[in-house]
Symmetry: C2
């Protein structure tokens, strides 16, 4: 059976969107709009590929995606069929509505991504997000306190959110602080930029982990700072050698990015001692600390500092909501030692603030109501299962090709590649089939580069990840 | 009559909040909470000053503020009385509610400002903002499209807002563009940073207006760029001399910041010619162009570019919602020439995005519904009246001391001071009595500094501004 509309759509080969994804999206739209009905068959991949002038594996990739998301199903020996629409759990934006919605349509840009690509590291599965409970918090704030959606005279952000964050880090990260020391930022990158703008001047030396977070490295370079690279070993980043004399070190002590692994207590103490003796500052980027799947939580360095050192804190703590809300909400925070709050305020007035007030009161409500924590506990359980499934899968599918450590934490892991494999080339070839692992080597700044792939295990179901890993295996077969 | 609670509160002399404002706020809270009732008298300023250990003029300043905001009124010959609460139009956050609101309280940080200080330039009167209509848009989005509050896969922002902005600039600014070229940013400063990060490298020369916008200058300096200062004359900024060879010029052609005045058509054409011949880029910062009080609107340079030059546009247009929503919403935008959209996307992925998705769909709804434009037309009418009142006031109160030009536009104006006046010192002394004019000289980078005060006329009623100008007159008496 040939459905004429199925071959009528045009493929844009110059688009950023892979061809398989364009085909997937065209079919998905027909299913959602009802143009393709439950029970209808999809064309056989071979003839469909000929009709569209693409390779059969491209059609297969599109079909696999549709099956993985529940839009289609295979029937033994007889090809692929559209599943009845009621059985598909759609994101709420896409549920066909009875009467025209009173808000602009959910059309998205022609170049917008369709969703996270498979294996893309460090992102949450936003299909699990409790949109309605959060939207109810937003609606309640809109009713009770409409001003707070638009306006604040406090450059550090909404006071109730700052209180909620102070309570959060006390319970989850062992940090005793007051709301007055909490500053709301436009995500953790904004927080890191504010720290650097406050504490560093052109030409100053800054200690950064190598490998580390790329937007941070890009910002440091754009500011004309001199980076001093800290090698990352099994105990965490190395303490900067005396002669390098950095003014500031940015660390990920709870879960090194991207290698994984926590800094040992001895190394933590050594860093605090360094800061104290050298008069240096430590910025602790605690980007995904909520996700620890075994053992006791590792307290934040900022809390460690308070407990063990009877003197002014030299640690600025940076946290983020991007691992819960995705990075579209753009809400992070920093906790400044009391002695620095005025300096941070001055930076905001010199460079301007970036954090929107719009979601802040609703987020505070969401946290205080407990919906935030219910969601956090739920996804932590789900991600733990996905992590286990991913390790099983890796052992089965790639155990002969890659090595990987289990750090029992976070949202991504590193597949180490044998000598002679080009991780950049593999990552690039993987993109062509809709996967997005990152090349480990691109996270290194110095000469001692390790080759590997950084992949995520949270954003997709075990079935979807299995599809991703199988595709990755095929990509790697051509390389190492 | 002495009210014991009125002398019981403590003044924090180390606080950033001026003493008069602390007294004002303490009394205002008592009125709002009902601790002070309508008809009760406030203590005579002289004895109250003695009780609190402050100067009488400090008490007078607090009382004037209460009168200006309608919390108290003078009765002929018999001091000051609290006005019955029903007569006071309170911001909705502060209306006593019958039952406990289901969202966190509207407490604000101890160091938050109470409102815009008098004469502070370039800010809207947020007491006029239609909070409830905007909140209704937010609530409708929360109901109809809860996902859009949290999540977007498009780094350029919500598509419906980008469409609304494309329609807006077509009608208001004469720019023909498509939503695909519109990028949502965290305010106009973020937009300027993105332009510079995309188009400039360390050591490159950038042309900036002198005087100009301070956060932009601070950013340029922090990036290690070489500024080439463009003198601002009656025709607008001067075209960069050939030998300076800047790659980029940032201009405010519709209304120069901070001097006021529009660039002449000849000068605009000269800039476009420069960009074309030198292969340079122009960033047009159109920060307050909605506010023009007489004559025809001045079309944007970006529109001029399209109309007169039959070639690829070299103008990037930057707009902002901060003049309508205050700068707490942090929503601005840039419009990139089609040839540059990919470069801008790359910048976002290198440095991360800063704009929150949270308010975007609601803002699109607000614009499409027409509430945005109703508000815009209303405040434009009110600001025009305030502008007229301000000029009358200035002629009456300061006509012998300062000079000022009427540019029929914007939200602030410049009071030029005679030789020998120290504008920085005047601005600093003014802050002590609760005023916030800015010193004109601090906006200059080069040697040729003019002295003056930049003051706003939109954020306060004519009565409030009159109070501000009278205070300013007293401050100036000690100086020139």
């Amino acid at each position: 059976m040939k459905n004429p509309s199925l071959i009528a759509f045009s493929i844009d080969r110059k688009s950023d969107i892979p061809v398989f994804a364009q085909i997937y999206e065209a079919i998905r739209r027909m299913i959602v709009s009802g143009a393709l009905e439950g029970g209808q068959s999809l064309p056989p991949s071979r003839s469909f590929a000929t009709d569209l002038g693409v390779s059969r594996s491209t059609i297969m990739a599109a079909y696999e995606q549709l099956v993985a998301e529940g839009y289609a199903e295979g029937r033994h020996g007889s090809g692929l069929y559209v599943r009845p629409i009621g059985e598909v759990e759609l994101p709420s934006d896409q549920v066909p509505v009875k009467r025209p919605a009173p808000v602009p349509s959910a059309k998205s840009s022609p170049t917008a991504r369709l969703g996270w690509p498979l294996l893309y590291p460090g992102v949450p599965d936003m299909r699990l997000f409790p949109y309605r409970p959060f939207a109810r918090c937003v609606a309640r704030v809109a009713r009770a306190s409409p001003q707070s959606l638009v306006m604040s005279f406090d450059p550090f952000g909404d006071w109730s959110l700052r209180e909620a964050i102070a309570a959060h880090v006390a319970e989850w990260r062992g940090i005793q602080t007051s709301a007055g020391q909490v500053m709301i930022t436009a995500g953790s990158t904004d927080a890191l930029e504010i720290c650097i703008r406050t504490l560093m001047q052109r030409g100053d030396t800054i200690a950064l982990e190598d490998p580390g977070y790329l937007p941070l490295r890009n910002f440091v370079e754009s500011q004309g700072l001199a980076p001093c690279w800290l090698k990352v070993g099994p105990h965490g980043a190395e303490v900067p050698p005396h002669e390098t004399a950095p003014k500031l070190a940015v660390l990920t002590p709870s879960h090194q990015f991207p290698m994984g692994g926590a800094m040992t207590p001895d190394r933590r103490r050594a860093f605090l001692q360094w800061a104290d003796e050298a008069g240096g500052w430590i910025v602790e980027d605690d980007y995904d600390s909520e996700f620890r799947y075994a053992g006791r939580p590792i307290p934040a360095l900022a809390g460690f500092d308070q407990a063990d050192f009877d003197r002014a804190s030299r640690v600025i703590y940076v946290g983020s909501f991007s691992k819960i809300f995705s990075n579209s909400l753009r809400i992070g925070f920093l906790i400044a030692p009391e002695a620095l709050t005025d300096c941070f305020a001055k930076t905001l007035s010199r460079f301007g603030t970036k954090a929107s007030i719009a979601p802040q009161r609703a987020l505070a409500t969401f946290m205080q109501d407990g919906d935030f924590y219910r969601h956090l506990r739920r996804v932590r359980r789900i991600y733990a299962e996905r992590r286990n499934a991913m390790f099983d899968l890796l052992r089965r599918e790639l155990g002969d090709r890659v090595a990987f450590d289990d750090h029992q934490a976070g949202m991504q892991l590193v597949l180490k590649l044998p000598d002679g494999c080009d991780d950049t080339q593999i990552a690039s070839d993987a993109r062509d089939v809709g996967l997005s692992p990152l090349a480990l080597s691109s996270h290194f700044a110095g000469d001692q580069v390790e080759k590997g792939l950084v992949i995520g295990f949270c954003a997709h179901s075990p079935e979807e990840s299995a599809m991703g890993i199988k595709k990755l295996r095929r990509v790697m077969e051509g390389h190492c």
